[in-house]
């Protein structure tokens, strides 16, 4: 088995794990978004590694990478829109102060 592929997948797994930790442990909305960015970065790396080492002749692999990048950009746009609205009404983007959103 290819060392390069395994290295890439392990790095992707580590980024995914760090991202999960960040998204679950942080109380600030922007920091939670950073965790989600790392999770998506792990997925991105896996997709590139699969394209490069397993199916280099199938261009659809690159297409999936572009879709993940689009999701990253969307997450940023929507997240910051929500953050601005929240900050305008409550003066804070701390998620521990947002328990009323559950109601």
């Amino acid at each position: 088995m290819s060392v390069e592929l395994i290295w890439s997948l392990i790095t992707g797994a580590a980024l995914f794990g760090v991202g999960i930790y960040g998204a679950l442990s942080q109380t600030n909305l922007v920091m939670i978004m950073m965790g989600v960015e790392l999770i998506l970065a792990g997925a991105l790396l896996n997709m590139v590694a699969f394209f490069r080492y397993l199916h280099p002749d199938v261009a659809a692999g690159q297409m999936f990478v572009l879709i993940i990048m689009t999701v990253m950009a969307l997450e940023m746009a929507v997240g910051f829109g929500v953050a601005i609205a929240r900050f305008r009404y409550k003066g804070s983007v701390e998620m521990e102060e947002a328990a009323e959103l559950k109601d």
């Binding site: 390069e4 790095t11 794990g17 922007v30 590139v48 659809a60």
Partner: protein, 190 residues
């Protein structure tokens, strides 16, 4: 067999993970955003090492812009953006650590124990890769590509609409003090 490519992939991979950890370890929000930028750039360098050049350059360019914007927003929204007060902004740490570790171990187990089949050691020429992606985007995957574009546009409009301050329905009456102040100002200017 360990090749130069494997060594560089390992190096940039460790850098990406290390900077990813630094994001949640520093108290300064600016450092946090810059660490995430370095992590994503190391990922782009990994792509370049893998000879996937178009996606590598795209990753670096896109993330540099995205993280710069994120740094600005973080400074705006945080109570202590410089981290001088060393405020702890975490909760359920033990649970998060466990969840992160289990995710990591699970993903590594899948990566190591699955037989991925034959591996291609020779990369397709970068010009051919980009050309194939171009044909893919404007041929078979055109609908997906167009949908992605429209989704981004919709999200941008929706995010702006959510963020705009709603105008108040009733106009505020001019207070007497303000009118008095205006009058004084006019007199002074005369």
């Amino acid at each position: 067999m360990i090749t130069a490519q494997a060594i560089f992939i390992g190096f940039f991979g460790i850098a990406a993970v290390w900077f990813g950890v630094v994001v949640f370890r520093t108290f300064s929000m600016v450092r946090s955003a810059i660490a995430l930028l370095f992590s994503q750039t190391a990922l782009g360098a990994m792509f370049l090492t893998m000879e996937v050049e178009f996606l590598g350059v795209l990753q670096i360019m896109m993330m540099a812009t995205e993280m710069s914007i994120m740094a600005i927003f973080m400074v705006m929204f945080m109570m202590d953006p410089g981290g001088m007060g060393e405020m702890d902004m975490t909760h359920q740490k033990q649970f998060s650590l466990t969840a992160g570790f289990i995710s990591f171990v699970g993903a590594v187990a899948v990566a190591v124990f699955i037989d991925w089949g034959p591996v291609s050691t020779v990369a397709v020429d970068s010009v051919e890769q980009t050309k194939a992606l171009g044909f893919e985007l404007l041929d078979r995957s055109m609908l997906i590509f167009e949908m992605a574009g429209i989704t981004i546009l919709t999200a941008m409009i929706a995010a702006t609409a959510v963020a705009i301050k709603p105008a108040s329905k009733t106009s505020q009456p001019k207070s007497s003090s303000t009118a008095h102040g205006d009058h004084q100002h006019k007199e002074q200017s005369k």
